[in-house]
Symmetry: D3
Subunit: 168 residues, 6 copies
């Protein structure tokens, strides 16, 4: 059993995340998707709750063809404890997929393999860009999986983001 | 879409939980399973990590026939905020299944329907009894789904429980 | 300006508290009433929220004849910091009225006068006894000020306490 | 009984807050004033303790003609739980008065009416401006109620702010 | 460099701790002494602050003949993170000396050697017994190193313990 | 017994800190060195763990000629409680040595003498500058005591800092 771990904030979940996960699915027997900063929501940089992000991810991956777990991970605010925190919240895993420098360092110091090959770095898309487009009224729906877009519509995610970004 | 919420500590997941979930599956379109006190482990009353509990539950429900989410829920230690905390960590749900008096009261005050009919109260089995049997060396495997028992074996859950229960 | 500080959990506010406060009102220019363990509610020993306790206290003291402040104080869970915590949440005060041994010791170590004369110890009534009576169906309304009793009625405080005290 | 809720950080309490509260007093039977970020003090943006702010507000409102509660509210750092947190610390209220976009969104999602009419937006005054004036030595006393100014003088609030703003 | 870790609550530091540390000094190049539950004080089971415990330990070990570090360790309240927490607060160490079953299990799961031979188990003395003697007025000074006893005298540790143990 | 308190984050410990401590050693009987923000590590501004900082400091001061304590101090995030927090974690002290404006204000409000004479302000060196040099590949070893430099080498501190500072 090769279980792989992938972490993100998914604010929102987008095609870049989807593409990375589809690649991981070729190598892993099971995938654990950790939703970072799970306790944050209703912020300009973190508009969606962990539960809303669980829904976006799960619905977008129905045809992934690889079993996966979606686990909210609250911030522990102590980097030296973060890997132990992640491992306590997830089924055991052997490798981590990430191109985030801090995540890579923390797992490396914990003796866990981190894979960050070029093919996984296709997440040139970013949540920052999508939130910017939503706020400026530019098209963004094509950057996220259709199922994720439907979730945002159901919870009026764009309305929430625009309201909290208003000037006082 | 009727989504139902079911909460437990699952220390460990047992046949009573399984039976309740199989009944809920007849009524709900999707089930959200909240793992309470997710941050606790390595205690006599809470021996297993949230991740280990995720694994026990997920493997035991592979043939449930109803989509489900397994979500670790850390304690918020403020009862008045607990329902809001649960809702922030989970996809939206309409009803809650519980026979725990505090859970029933908290959801009732939040205006959420709680269903606690007799047929769901078949969880006469208890984690307390299973932990007692593990410690005393009595048979317990028949009280948990086979898949859950295999997880406990893989992580040496009984060895851990017996060690932390030793006298100093 | 002689400001005095009085702390309690007020679960619920009762005639003993009322009597002590009426005595303090004879000596102080202003009274600060700290509601301890403000974050707790919906527990058998702490059934009411801080806000509900604010309401019970304020309504019961409308004719006290001495200005007073009612301040929720969340637990800090570090006794050595508790006096500094209290002082940060309250207007400056010169003396403390208490017969609780720990409160007396903490204020004494902080160099603050604690008054605990016999006349203030008339709180032989206790929240514990009142909660016991509510649960057993014995009369309790005569032990709390009428205004406090009306607040409990408005929020269905007895119903909540009885529900959360039920066996699972 | 129409109870209204008004939240601010009150660093310091100023004439804009006073004006808003006088307007609310025309419509509400009782007013609850929540002191946000109650746990913060001795920061350039948050120089005063919750207790000092309680004192400024209470003394400035002695002739308001409407009963009011002044309640310190510590940050909960989880927006999705904030309304539940506020409600646990305050007497029950039916409407909220605010022009802060996040506060408006959070109360709206909780199903609570938010009133933000133009007449309440007279808080063009800001704590930021007053703190800037204190630091630069410009006149600021005319921007706060006289009673609030006296409290700042009693606690040497300007001295504290100037000291903590010094370069290291 | 062989560095060894020893953990205790040291409420108070006594001859049993001293004896264990003198044995460890024969094997280790340096000793790290972790003061557990560092944030607790002024409780019947935890009467002394971390700083007071630092003083008792340091003064009692002046002639140990082995370099040592005394490090307060606040509780993390998540057993699965405790070893990572300890390691972040201490210089690197290779082995742990303990006969506490939970500490042994947590270090074992983290892959760290735990030594618990009979000769180290001479801590038949216990803080519980010493606190009981202080409260009952029985002799206790002979159970702690003279330097530790002097610290307790300087801070009036027995007076504090007796006061907080009084009936309300 | 004159005990003096000195606080810093020591990210990393450098010659400026060393110089200040050598001066304090002329006046104090014992020195307490508090390691601030002890819980932070693996950040660009806080790369090293508390334990690593304990090691750098202790090894650099072996020939100080004045007894000293090195105590990690976790952030309490409430300035009004910080002095009480520090005092609970440290042996009793009479004076504080600091030129940090906030530290000076907090100790002054607590009635503790703060000494900040020019001769102690020789810490024109800064951790910020050293971290900048490490990241840019400029020489930095001459700015820290040799023993501190060796610790950084043992833990590959520069490698860690460079990795976590990489672009994502």
């Amino acid at each position: 059993m090769k279980r792989g771990f992938y972490i993100g904030r998914f604010q929102p979940y987008h095609n870049g995340h989807q593409s990375v996960l589809e690649h991981i699915a070729d190598y892993a027997d099971e995938i654990i998707i950790g939703i970072g900063s799970a306790q944050l929501s209703h912020q300009i940089d973190n508009p969606f709750t962990a539960g809303e992000r669980v829904l976006m991810i799960t619905r977008s991956l129905v045809s992934l063809g690889c079993p996966f777990y979606v686990i909210p991970i609250e911030d522990i605010k102590r980097n030296a404890l973060w890997v132990a925190h992640v491992r306590s919240m997830t089924p055991p895993f052997e490798s981590c997929y990430s191109s985030n420098p801090l995540v890579m360092q923390l797992f490396k110091e914990a003796g866990i393999t981190v894979q960050s090959p070029a093919m996984y770095e296709r997440d040139t898309l970013s949540g920052t860009e999508i939130r910017r487009r939503i706020l400026s009224g530019e098209p963004w729906e094509n950057l996220v999986p259709p199922a994720g877009s439907r979730v945002l519509s159901e919870i009026d995610g764009t309305g929430r983001l625009r309201q909290i970004a208003r000037e006082d």
